[in-house]
Symmetry: C2
Subunit: 376 residues, 2 copies
DNA sequence: GAATCCAGCTAAAACGTTTTAGCCCGGAGG
DNA sequence: CCTCCGGGCTAAAACGTTTTAGCTGGATTC
């Protein structure tokens, strides 16, 4: 197989140092203003005859003209850049960011991302640095803002009541109904609950919803069957000790509703090491449906959050807010756009909650997560 | 628990619209130049008496002065921004990016990331867009550049011989020695090999190293035991059909060396569904050591790539290259900095290659991946 | 008393755009 | 012949910095 790289003429033409507007205008014998109008297809270019326009565009291409982004931004007060604040580049965050990236790039926006690792100073500093760099808006993933910001903010899985913040959240009530309903249907009554760490911005809402739905469904949440995580559930090891703690109490339970998939995976391991089989002895249900949930052994039953889509929605919403803000030139403030956008969860039943050990079906996974491509 | 949010004075002081240099200078009764020198702690500020400096700094703080980033960049021709080109925000990429982000932020750089999803046009377009936005360098993760770029480039897991590109790569020879050595020691001779997809920039080098080492170790690589992946191994489902294909050949093998962990996970599932137990019937070894590898069941033996560190190295190297470039003002080109930086793999033996079923030890995981924090 | 020097500033160019106000000129209308 | 109009452009301000060259006025030197 011949090497594909054009090794021979490696240092071939790095395209000539981009010309600036002045050079281009001089080359054309026109003023910078005229050229600018044309290359930007400004409405004011209407009075410039088509031949001239063609001439200009051609020369621009030939000289490889690229407007200097800083000069442009300085003048027009636009950066086409947003900031993404996140705790850490976990699976969860990566999925949401993927959705955001997708939407942004197709509208010629870029983003600055920064992970604060739940450190207070950084949670203050990074938004400030972003603002300093003139981002036009900020998306906070699983992060609480300390102060109101001078740009539109969309929060994913945050629940902030703050001026200028739009929250994209899961319908946690529905999520609890799905999960508890499933456990109930499969005959469980002695259910252990794992509450998230207080550091996670979703914890409180999710927990409250679970409590409410449990009451409605007449499920008792025994305090001795409730455990609480202490640190951020980024990697599965945090689920392990929590489950151990639960086991140490020596209380009877047949099901465990974990805070999320990562925690569930760690918990399953702890159960296993303690001699309890999943799902035979204990049924386990997770939350999120991260990609590897389908490929655990046993594969994980979970409440799916459409994370990628939440990212897309967040990005679209933010760009809308930005547009609105630019449009209303100090005029009466627009419809103060919804404070909350809710998305629906989905129950994905796999092996960790049934005793049936069905052969794995590639198609099934494909159906659950349509973005995957399966090669025959 | 009292609500923490200061719901009451929500629209509290959004810090006064940042003042610009002109306003600040006027307020002080000084010229913009003087103020600029002082706030930037420029060497030329030496002749300005300390009291004046103090006055200026105080006023700057009081008026909340922040230099406009665009004006600054325009003038000083620096953006403190780099671009990250990647195929997709997979686990793998997220780890590398985490390392990069860390290094960048602590040096006041930000990054633009873009995922080309292996689409040719995007692989051309995104670097161009980044250059247009004046990034000072680019890190390509698992991505091949089409053209030389006018800025320094560091490639992670790429193997490009191209002017101005520094490669951060794994020592694949050593990796192959570790993996094959382990298989040999545990008594395997009939080994199946899974080659990566041609789209992945590491595939060829890894494969070649495996072939070489196999020859050295006198391991026969039977063609009928070699399978090749077709699409990018981002999610585990791509490993599944490849393993099926292998099984369909009805050839005897006792070990499988998968292209990476994700593929291994899918393969294990396929083996399982075909009635073969891992590790009892087939030993499986992966590559990468993604976080969930330790939490599979069976947990995955794998050749660990220090992905986070590779990201850190890439970022540090790129920033060095940038500094060098800025320093040499067109002067004789510096030591044309190493074309390749190699990092060492590490063998992580877990359950998928031994028959012993040891209880899971949290400490063990901690030892392998020290960045995890275990809460008691 | 003139020349020199230095501390402590200032003026202004430059970075590369966008955009508004308006200039110039040829032809149509009166 | 004068006026008006509008097509086709230009001039220049503005965006907010950084940085160099140089100005001013008082103290020192000879």
């Amino acid at each position: 197989m011949a090497k594909k790289n054009s090794d021979s003429h490696v240092s071939s033409k790095v395209p000539a140092k981009a010309a600036n507007l002045k050079a281009l205008a001089e080359h054309l014998g026109l003023s910078q203003g005229t050229v600018s109008l044309v290359v930007n297809r400004s409405p004011s270019a209407a009075s410039i005859p088509p031949e001239t326009q063609a001439r200009i565009l051609e020369a621009a291409k030939k000289l490889n003209y690229r407007a200097n982004f800083f000069a442009k931004s300085l003048r027009s007060q636009r950066s086409f850049t947003i900031g993404i604040l996140h705790p850490d580049l976990s699976d969860y965050v990566a999925l949401v960011m993927g959705g955001i990236e997708d939407q942004l790039l197709r509208q010629n926006y870029f983003y600055f991302a920064a992970g604060h690792r739940n450190q207070r100073e950084l949670m203050e500093e990074y938004p400030r640095m972003m603002i300093e760099r003139s981002v036009e808006g900020i998306i906070a993933i699983d992060s609480l803002l300390q102060h109101p910001l001078p740009v539109p903010v969309v929060s994913v899985s945050g629940h902030q009541k703050m001026a200028g913040v739009t929250n994209v959240v899961l319908d946690h009530r529905r999520a609890a109904e799905l999960a508890l309903g499933h456990l109930l249907e499969t005959g469980h009554r002695d259910i252990a609950f794992m509450k998230g760490p207080s550091i996670s911005s979703d914890t409180e809402h999710r927990w409250r919803s679970i409590c409410e739905v449990a009451r409605t469904l007449n499920i008792e949440m025994k305090p001795e069957l409730c455990v609480e995580m202490e640190s951020s559930p980024t990697y599965p090891d945090v689920g392990y000790p929590v489950a151990q703690q639960l086991l140490a109490r020596n209380q009877h339970f047949t099901a465990l509703f974990a805070y999320n998939d990562v925690a569930a995976i760690g918990a399953i391991r702890a159960l296993f090491d303690a001699g309890r089989r999943v799902p035979d002895d204990v049924t386990v249900i997770g939350f999120d449906d991260i990609p590897s949930a389908a490929f655990q052994n046993p594969s994980l039953t979970t409440v799916r959050q459409p994370l990628r889509r939440m990212g897309e929605i967040a990005a679209r919403t933010l760009l809308e807010l930005i547009d609105e803000k630019k449009a209303q030139t100090g005029g009466g403030l627009s419809k103060d756009s919804r404070e909350e956008i809710s998305v629906e969860p989905e129950l994905v039943v796999r092996e960790s909650t049934t005793c049936r050990r069905a052969p794995f079906q590639a198609e099934e996974v494909a159906a659950i997560t349509p973005s995957f491509s399966i090669t025959t």
